[in-house]
């Protein structure tokens, strides 16, 4: 095994030195850094999606049923976060908050608000909560009337109807939009590299800066992102088959 590995690396080195414009050896030497970068990218993306998703459910319900005094502020929140670039939102939190003395003197400053990781997580969560709220609201509003009438006819209380009928069916209808949101969030996570964090792109930029290269780091980063997106869309296709099977057009009989 060790013998085989060495010959593979020798082969790689040979190609890099003699034929290819790209230096594969250098990337192979630092591939562990890329995996750590991927770990950070996945970590922040998944945590933000979980926190943002959990925030979005009550907000979407309040919006869908036009809660008298919550609807307006929630719309303001989603409009603000959907109408502005994530990059600027992140800058606002990470670079901007230090402007205020009361923030720097508060107990949150040391552990959380002066830390790039936490600032990114907070901004990303709020951002994805804004987007998720709106399409989840759409899905809740599109609940077929018959389902609600059936639930009422069974004597369900509004709360039970929410948990048993409206939300499960809305989640299913929101699934295709959510798969886009997940991929979008992964793409947006490149913002991490602009606030000094070493995500996949951050590692690529570091590699290029250190060895004064033009392609290697970015192309490796590109491949890493493509692999992640591939697995995400595979996963969602599986879940759509599982949870949305009843909405697929039936296979027509062969004629």
């Amino acid at each position: 095994m060790a013998e085989q590995e060495r010959t593979f690396f020798e082969y790689l080195a040979y190609i890099s030195e003699n034929h290819s414009p790209l230096d594969f050896m250098l990337v192979a030497d630092h591939i562990d850094k890329f995996f750590y970068g991927a770990l950070l990218t996945i970590e922040i993306t998944v945590l933000a999606l979980l926190i943002g998703g959990a925030m979005a459910i009550p907000l979407a319900v309040a919006r869908a049923y036009r809660h008298p005094w919550l609807n307006g502020p929630i719309f303001g929140f989603t409009y603000f976060f959907r109408g502005t670039p994530l990059l600027v939102q992140t800058y606002l939190v990470y670079y901007g908050l230090a402007q205020f003395d009361f923030v720097r003197e508060s107990f949150l400053w040391g552990p959380i608000l002066s830390n790039a990781w936490w600032c990114a997580l907070i901004t990303f969560s709020l951002n994805t909560a804004g987007y998720t709220t709106e399409f989840l609201r759409g899905a809740i509003e599109n609940t077929p009337k018959g389902e609600i009438e059936a639930a009422q006819a069974c004597g369900m209380s509004p709360r039970r109807m929410m948990w048993r009928v409206v939300l499960p069916s809305a989640f299913r209808r929101a699934l295709p939009a959510y798969s886009n949101e997940v991929i979008f969030m992964l793409h947006s996570s490149v913002v991490l590299s602009t606030i000094t964090l070493q995500d996949i792109l951050g590692v690529g930029r570091w590699l290029n800066g250190r060895y004064y290269l033009a392609y290697e780091g970015f192309i490796t980063a590109m491949i890493f992102y493509m692999i992640l997106v591939f697995f995400i869309s595979k996963g969602f296709r599986f879940w759509e088959k599982r949870w949305l099977g009843h909405l697929r057009p039936r296979d027509t009989a062969n004629t």
Partner: protein
């Protein structure tokens, strides 16, 4: 807030650069989208394959990565190609050009899907009717396909445009002096980064609100003959 007013000239300059960048990338993306859509709808398997590879690639890679690859690597490729073929002299790829090409390239893929869906929504019989009237392909495109395609494509086009205008903020990372870059420089120099970033957010909200008005006008115009519930 006074400091923002003091730097209004710088912010205005940045806003103009951002808007120019957005419009230029939009034009490129529409062009690429039309080419991509016709390639996807063609009977030729090769062109379909190329178009599918294009949209898959873009769906898989974040725009900032492409932008950096183009900005740092594109220069080298273009000049190597130029000196190898002798077709062109030294070309400089500045931040603006890298931004336009990468944003245009990315959104061209989304526009491809938009236009493909819109063309498919036009009943086939109308195009056949045009052929039987003896219309030339270009005339069919101008009189039958285009007006209806715009109508079907507008909602998704609007969505793409709103995402595109936000994507322009990323160009500040490679150093174009756009709105975000100018504002963060000014914010650092007067030690009020929050105020300036907040002003940027407000300007972006104004830009999207303005384009909303324009697009709604277009929507009305292209839906003139359509009954809506």
């Amino acid at each position: 807030m006074d400091s923002v007013w003091e730097y209004r000239g710088l912010l205005l300059q940045g806003t103009i650069v951002t808007v120019q960048l957005a419009l230029a990338s939009l034009a490129l993306s529409v062009l690429l989208g039309l080419i991509g859509a016709s390639a996807k709808l063609a009977t030729n398997t090769t062109s379909r394959g190329v178009a599918n590879a294009y949209t898959t690639l873009v769906r898989g890679v974040p725009d900032l990565v492409l932008m950096m690859l183009l900005f740092y690597g594109g220069q080298q490729i273009v000049n190597d190609l130029g000196s190898a073929t002798g077709l062109w002299d030294y070309v400089e790829i500045n931040q603006f050009i890298a931004g336009v090409w990468s944003i245009g390239f990315v959104f061209g893929a989304y526009m491809t899907e938009t236009f493909r869906g819109a063309i498919l929504a036009i009943p086939r019989g109308q195009i056949e009717a045009g052929i039987s009237c003896g219309m030339a392909p270009l005339l069919i495109f101008r009189r039958i396909t285009w007006p209806q395609m715009v109508r079907h494509a507008l909602p998704s086009f609007t969505n793409n445009w709103l995402v595109l205008i936000k994507a322009t903020a990323l160009v500040s990372v490679i150093g174009l002096h756009d709105l975000v870059w100018n504002a963060s420089t000014a914010g650092r120099s007067v030690r009020e980064p929050f105020t300036f970033m907040f002003a940027v957010l407000i300007i972006y909200l104004i830009l999207t609100a303005c384009s909303d008005v324009g697009l709604r006008w277009l929507d009305r115009r292209y839906n003139v003959g359509v009954d809506r519930a």
